[in-house]
């Protein structure tokens, strides 16, 4: 259930080609209500991700400064709860798939991409992110409740000793 204060989904797009960022951003801005942030530099993107709430990061694979897998590995360290997706051209698909398991990515998307498929993948990813976050919260609540229970138990035992 969405609380009233729940922030809009924040998505980070990283690709060294401006035309890809513009196309994706325009598409998402008209089809969704996500907040989209675009970067041609992975380093700048990492800075942003460190300082802001981010639900999903979509990155190109082949970039001059840093390859997408390395970048998404860094993203995982900084914001482990964010969903990570890689954009890959056909030629590097095999390499990308091998690395995907190492870095733990949600999905890969091939270029040229299909807009409808892209939307479904993003929606699924964000839904997963939301559920994982809820799950984490519930686990924390259970742990706390258990700790409280244990505390109570100790008090009770103390009274009877």
């Amino acid at each position: 259930m969405m609380s009233q204060n729940e922030d809009k989904n924040q998505i980070v797009l990283v690709d060294d080609e401006e035309m890809v960022l513009t196309s994706l951003n325009t598409f998402l801005s008209l089809e969704t209500d996500y907040n989209v942030f675009t970067f041609t530099s992975p380093k700048e993107a990492l800075q942003f991700i460190r300082e802001n709430e981010v639900h999903m990061v979509i990155s190109d694979y082949l970039m001059p400064d840093m390859d997408g897998i390395t970048f998404l590995g860094d993203v995982r360290r900084i914001k482990p709860g964010a969903i990570r997706i890689i954009l890959t051209g056909y030629a590097d698909k095999e390499n990308a798939i091998k690395a995907i398991n190492e870095v733990g990515l949600f999905q890969y998307i091939e270029k040229p991409w299909n807009n409808d498929d892209l939307l479904i993948i993003i929606r699924n990813g964000l839904e997963k992110q939301r559920l994982m976050k809820q799950l984490q919260k519930k686990i924390e609540e259970i742990n706390k409740a258990y700790a409280d229970l244990q505390g109570l138990h100790r008090e009770i035992v103390k009274t009877f000793v």
């Binding site: 080609e17 035309m19 196309s23 598409f27 056909y90 030629a91 040229p112 807009n115």
Partner: protein, 281 residues
Amino acid sequence: MTQKTKPTPERVEQLEKEVKELSRILEEKQRQLMNAEKMALLGNLVAGIAHELNTPLGALKSNCELFMQFIDRIKKILFSPDAPEAISQNRMLQHLFASIDQLNKVNQTASERLVEIMGSVRRYARQEAEEPVETDIHEILDCALSLAHHEFKNSVTVHKSYGELPLIPCFPNKLNQVFLNILINARQAMDKPGDIFITTTSETDGITIEIKDTGNGIKPELLDRIFAPGFTTKPNGMGIGLSIVKQFIEMHQGKIEVESEEGKGTTFRIMLPYSFTPRKS
């Protein structure tokens, strides 16, 4: 010390002839090797270019689709019942939108064609699998046809008679090369516009693919030599195309046959078994 007999003038002349012939063959082989290296380099270049094209193609394809959707939404606003009549009844505006619709459809078709061609090139250029893959042979045939399309435009009419075929284990890239080779040869055998008939059938032990052309045909005395390495009828030919085709078919434990009639055309018949155990090379 044994006295060696001096070679006769005739013997010297004969040896000279043999050396000349060997030199000629060596030069020929060197030329073929250089050509093959150039082709290999070109192949890598094409694969690289195909990869480069993915990005702009992605943007174009995506934006084409979006344009069509945006125009629809704009039209809904401008021609809605509560829009001012000066706008919703404007003939020029309606005419412009009709033209935009037409051009958008063209752009859509163009970008789809680009994606299809790029897909074929990429499939052709990628690394071959090490193990056979269960494949729909028709997909490989269509990929080869798509790559040959440029050669066929305006000069070749293709007639496809595809039967019901199960998936066949194969090395798709190699079969792609086989079909492409035969198709290009068929085209080159035509001096005037002609036809190519592709028929596939499934038999008891495997499938048969028949590629028949209405080209010039092959001389009967040459028929049993066409698969030999080095055989070529082209001035710049290397003579390795069909010998590689035969090797690739044999890799699948299949068979290839050829029938031809001068002036009428040539038919290649390829048989591929439903299963085979690949030999480790």
